[in-house]
Amino acid sequence: MKSQSRNERWIAFLMILPSIILLGIFVYGFIAWTGVVSVSKWDGIQPDYTFVGFNNYKQLFSLALGGISAIRFHIDLWNTFFFTIFFLFLCLIFGLLLAILLDQKIKGEGIFRTIYLFPMAISFVVTGVVWQWIFAPGTESRARGVNALLQSLGLDNLTWGWYTDPTRIGPFHVALIPVIIAAAWQMIGYTMAMYLAGLRAIPDDLREAARVDGAGSFGVYRHVVLPLLAPITLSALIILGHISLKIFDLIYTMTGKGPAFATDVPGIFMFETTFQGNHYAQGAAISIIMLLMVALIIIPYLIYSFRQEVEL
C-alpha cells in the first residue's frame, strides 16, 4: 500500500522478526545440526562430532556394512512404502465415496459428517490403544478382539495373528494390515471433508448444464465433478502421503516395531535407536532420510501452491 511509511514498514518487519528467527533456528538451524550429527561418530551418551562422512547412511543401506541395522532399515522402507500405498488408497476411495454420498442432499448430513470426522479430533495414541484391543489376537482357546468375533460366528479358519503375525508376502508384512486400517479410520474423515469442500465449491450451473446436455447423474460425476476434484486429490495425496512417511505415534502405541520388525517404520527406528540405544548419529541419519522423503513431495507442492496463488 502506498501510504505506508518507511518507519512503519520497519515496525511491521520487527513484529514478525521474532517468529522468523525462532523458525530459522528451530527448523533450519536444527535440521543443519542434525545433518552434522548424521555424519559424525556420536554413538553413546557423550557427543562426538568426529566427521565420518556418509558412514552412518551406508550402514543403513548396505547389508554388508550395517548388519541388523541395515536389515531393519530395509524392512522399514518397504513397510513405509506399503503402508503409504494402502493407506492413501483407502483414504481416497472411502473419502471420496462418503463425500459423494453426503452430497446427495442428505437429511441429517451434519450428524453423519460429525461421525466420520470425529477421529480427527482425537489423539493417535487413543486410536492406537483402541485398535490394539480390536486386533489383539489372543490365543486359539482364548481368542480376543476380532478373532473372538470370528470364532463366535463359526469362522475359526479366518482367525489369524493380526499385528503379531510375522508372515510376509514378498516384502509385504501382513501385520501392517491392522495398522493401516486404524490409520485409515482416523484419516478417512479428513479426506471426506476435503472432497466435500471441493464438491460444494462446484457451481450448480455446471452440473445443470451437463444434465441439460443429457448426462445422467453418473455421467455428471464422471465427466464434470471428478475432473474438477483433481486438485483436491493432489492435495490429499500430498498431505496424507507426508503424514504416512513420518507416522510414529499410532504405530508406536498400537504395535511398536512388531515381531521381526513387521510393523516397524523409520520414525520408530529413529526414536528407539536415538533415545533408547543412544546411537545418536544413526538416529540422525534416519531422520535426515525421513526429511528428504517428505521434502521431495512437499517442496514441489509448496512451489505449486504459491505459483497458483500468484496467478489468481
Binding site: 477421529p119 487413543v126 500430498i238
Partner: protein
C-alpha cells in the same frame, strides 16, 4: 421431490448408516470396556458384549490410580495437558495473528520467500530436529520442563497459525485500511481497531485447531518430559497401555479421559474445526 420409495436414495442412506456404524465401533469398544469391572473384562466369552451394569470403578482407577498395584492415576497428567495446551495455544494464536497481519498487509521485500520457508516448518518430520532440540532446551534451562514443551509447541505451531491468519486477513479490503490511515491510524492502530476485531472467527479456528493439535501431540512430549508426573496425558496413556498387566477396562477409561476435552471442543465447535483442518492443505 416426491415421498415415493426411491431405491437409489434408500441405498445411499443404507451405506451412510453402515459406514457410521463402522466408524463408531471403536467408540463402542471404549465405552463398553471402560464400564466393565476387571472380572467382567477378563471374561472373554463376553468380550464384545455390553457391560452388565454401569460400573465406574475403572474410571476411578484411571483417574486416581491404584497405588497398591503401582498404577498411577491420570488426573495429574490431565492437568499437565491443560497447563501445556492453554498457554501454548494462546501464544501461538497471538503470534500467528501478528505474523498474518504483517504478511498480508505489510509485504516487506523477500516476504514471498520467507513465508514458504516458514510454512515448510509444519511439514517436516520432527525427528529431524529432536536431538538439537533437547540439547538446546537443556542448555537454556528448559530441559524436562513444561515451559520447554510450551515453547516447542508455540514455535512449531507458528507456520499453521500464520498461514490461517494470513489467508484470513487477505480478505480484508485494503480500502478499509487506507480509510483508517486517513483517520491517522498507524501499524498498531490498524491491528487493534480493524484487524483484531475482524479476526475473532479466525481466532476461534486457530485456537480450536491448536488446542486439538497440542493436546494430542506425542513425540515432543515423550522426548522432552521424562518424569511420569510431569508428562501430558497422551504420554501417560501410552505408558498405561504399555504396562505389563493390562487392565483393559482401566486403559479404555484412561483413553476416554484423554479424548474427552478435544471431543467436546469438536462436537460443540465442529464447523470451525473443519475450517482449521482444511487450512492445513495450504490453499485453504
Amino acid at each position: 421431490m416426491t415421498a415415493r420409495f426411491n431405491p437409489a436414495r434408500f441405498a445411499v442412506y443404507l451405506l451412510l448408516i453402515l459406514f457410521a456404524l463402522i466408524f463408531l465401533i471403536p467408540v463402542y469398544v471404549l465405552l463398553s470396556s471402560s464400564l466393565k469391572t476387571f472380572a467382567e473384562v477378563q471374561d472373554l466369552s463376553r468380550l464384545w458384549a455390553p457391560p452388565q451394569g454401569l460400573n465406574l470403578e475403572s474410571f476411578k482407577a484411571a483417574w486416581a490410580g491404584i497405588p497398591e498395584k503401582g498404577l498411577r492415576g491420570l488426573a495429574p497428567n490431565l492437568m499437565n495437558s491443560f497447563k501445556l495446551t492453554i498457554p501454548a495455544t494462546i501464544l501461538s494464536a497471538l503470534l500467528g495473528s501478528m505474523n498474518g497481519y504483517v504478511l498480508s498487509k505489510w509485504k516487506f521485500p523477500a516476504a514471498n520467500i520467507v513465508f514458504p520457508l516458514m510454512l515448510f516448518g509444519m511439514f517436516i518430520p520432527y525427528q529431524a530436529v529432536l536431538v538439537p532440540l533437547t540439547v538446546t532446551l537443556a542448555r537454556i534451562g528448559l530441559g524436562g520442563s513444561l515451559w520447554g514443551l510450551i515453547l516447542v509447541n508455540v514455535v512449531y505451531g507458528l507456520p499453521i497459525t500464520t498461514l490461517i491468519f494470513r489467508n484470513y486477513y487477505s480478505e480484508v479490503p485494503n480500502e478499509m485500511i487506507e480509510a483508517s490511515r486517513m483517520d491517522g491510524a498507524g501499524f498498531f492502530g490498524i491491528y487493534r481497531f480493524i484487524m483484531f476485531p475482524l479476526s475473532l472467527p479466525g481466532f476461534v479456528v486457530v485456537i480450536i485447531w491448536q488446542f486439538t493439535n497440542i493436546w494430542n501431540e506425542f513425540l515432543f512430549a515423550v522426548t522432552i518430559l521424562q518424569k511420569p508426573e510431569m508428562q501430558p496425558i497422551t504420554v501417560a496413556l501410552r505408558n498405561l497401555s504399555g504396562s505389563q498387566i493390562k487392565e483393559w477396562n482401566v486403559v479404555m477409561a484412561g483413553a476416554i479421559i484423554a479424548a474427552i476435552p478435544t471431543l467436546i471442543v469438536y462436537i460443540v465447535m465442529g464447523r470451525y474445526f473443519v475450517r482449521g483442518l482444511l487450512a492445513g492443505s495450504v490453499k485453504g
